[in-house]
């Protein structure tokens, strides 16, 4: 987790405007505020988490990213962050479109369903995989649209979304993803971190 935050922080330039979509209790926002001189906002669907963020003095609005991003004008942020939330949306495709409308660039991190432990769990046990990054049972998981690193890579490719950076994260170690090592990273990485733009 720490490593993910560090990578996101490295992607973001100084003195920029940033929006954290699905900012949770504001941990990443606080981390970025301390480490970067940026103007950061958040949007969060849970009442409890929104209140936690506002209590910290963070500029967070309680709202549903699938409905409420519409209020932000085109390119009103330099970076929009979506950290491990894409899979929880009803319509991830529209959310990605919105991220790229509101932000000049978007940072999207996806828990990789193609990770070998996930595959092995399903193959050996024959039940829905439960891992460190995917701790919930099939009946109570908030994740509606799980995908693999390869899925997201292809998704961007098909829609002519530019992948500025694509990183794979495994045991806090990062490596870059490219056309040639895609299948390997899709097996070995727990998390994919992408910097994308239109």
């Amino acid at each position: 987790m720490k490593q993910e935050f560090k990578i996101i922080s490295d992607f973001i330039e100084k003195n920029t405007r940033v929006l954290d979509v699905g900012c949770g209790d504001g941990t990443l926002m606080e981390y970025l505020k301390i480490n970067k001189e940026i103007d950061i906002r958040g949007i969060e669907i849970s009442k409890n988490n929104s209140q936690k963020c506002v209590s910290k003095g963070l500029t967070v609005i309680e709202g549903d990213a699938e409905k409420d991003l519409i209020q932000f004008p085109d390119s009103s942020f330099d970076f929009v962050i979506l950290s491990q939330t894409l899979q929880a949306f009803l319509n991830p495709e529209i959310v990605i479109q919105e991220l790229l409308r509101v932000g000049k660039k978007a940072i999207v991190t996806v828990p990789n369903f193609g990770f070998w432990k996930v595959r092995l769990h399903l193959m050996i046990k024959g039940t829905m995989p439960i891992t460190k990054n995917l701790p919930d049972e099939w009946y109570n998981t908030p994740n509606l649209h799980m995908c693999t690193i390869k899925d997201f890579y292809n998704f961007c490719h098909d829609r002519e979304i530019k992948l500025d950076k694509a990183l794979a994260l495994r045991n806090e170690k990062t490596s870059s993803i490219n056309e040639t090592n895609l299948n390997i990273k899709n097996l070995s990485a727990e998390l994919g971190i992408f910097l994308i733009e239109r």
Partner: protein, 374 residues
Amino acid sequence: MNQNANIKSLIIDKPLKLDCGQTINNFPLAYETYGVLNDKKDNAILVFHALTGDQFVSGINPITKKDGWWSYAVGPNKAIDTDKYFVICANVIGGCLGSFGPSNTSSDTNKVYGTTFPIITINDMVNAQYNLLDFFKIKKLLAVMGGSMGGMQVLQFISNFPEKARIAIPIACTSSHSAQNIAFNELGRQSIMADTNWLNGDYANQNTNPAKGLSVARMAAHITYLSKNGLQEKFGRKLQERDDLKFSFDADFQIESYLRHQGSVFVDRFDANSYLYITRAMDYFDLTKEYGGNLSKAFEKTKTKFLVISFTSDWLYPTSENKEIVIALNAIGADVAFVEIESDKGHDSFLLNVPEFLNTLKNYINNSYLTIQE
């Protein structure tokens, strides 16, 4: 009801041009303060009251001998901590607790103004209260805040004086009074005017009082401050000190008795004409229209941090109307936070002990104050 040694007031000698066209000067503005203004004068919070509120935010109200209207939120160690902050609140003009209002006596005619008092607006109220900053020599307030009509004043204040507050907290309010709210206010006014003692507003000069009309107005309004679930839970069909229905028009039900009580205590502390004037000011409030249909324009010049708060069961100033303020602010990249607090206490939630609301408010103010000091 306004001659009292406990009321501090300021005489505003600077002429104030009202929206209705008239100019007033040398008029009183009654206020109260809590806590101490620090040497840097960076810890002042201006609180705006709602329709029937007054300057006595906290502690014991010296006129009614009851708790101040925002005692849950304001006081030592409370959400708005008076050990840290200097809280100022003024009675709005048009009101009846010391500020210039229809129950004042005109020096020209030696008669109580009544309905000869000029129509006032939220804008007029805010412009009158702005004089408090000069009086206390405060360059910039830490915060302006208020619920309901107090929230409308917050919005108007920031639009009129974009550089005069670091934080703005409009709570359970709107940028444009809705048809439903105008309708409820009209119901209250008509009830006052239907009282034969109202005498076209001249009752004070003829030693009478439209208490019945004002009481009914309060009863009707009080229902709008609560929620259906809240009422059902608190009262249900419970009977008032009786085992069975009396087959009469007495207050059989507790809710009837409760409302009658609310109405009767209200008339002891509030002036019927003030009720007409202040509800009118609320109805006329339309900040969106003031800026040509684009609310964002009202806030274009400000760097103030906003926190907008609404409540789930508030159907008088619902979340959707509070969100319109958030949307207008986000459209211009303003610094705005927003939370909708879960509560079954209706519009009145902002006045009551709703821990999630009070905690969020407290931490937001304290953390924002720390950032400002850095």
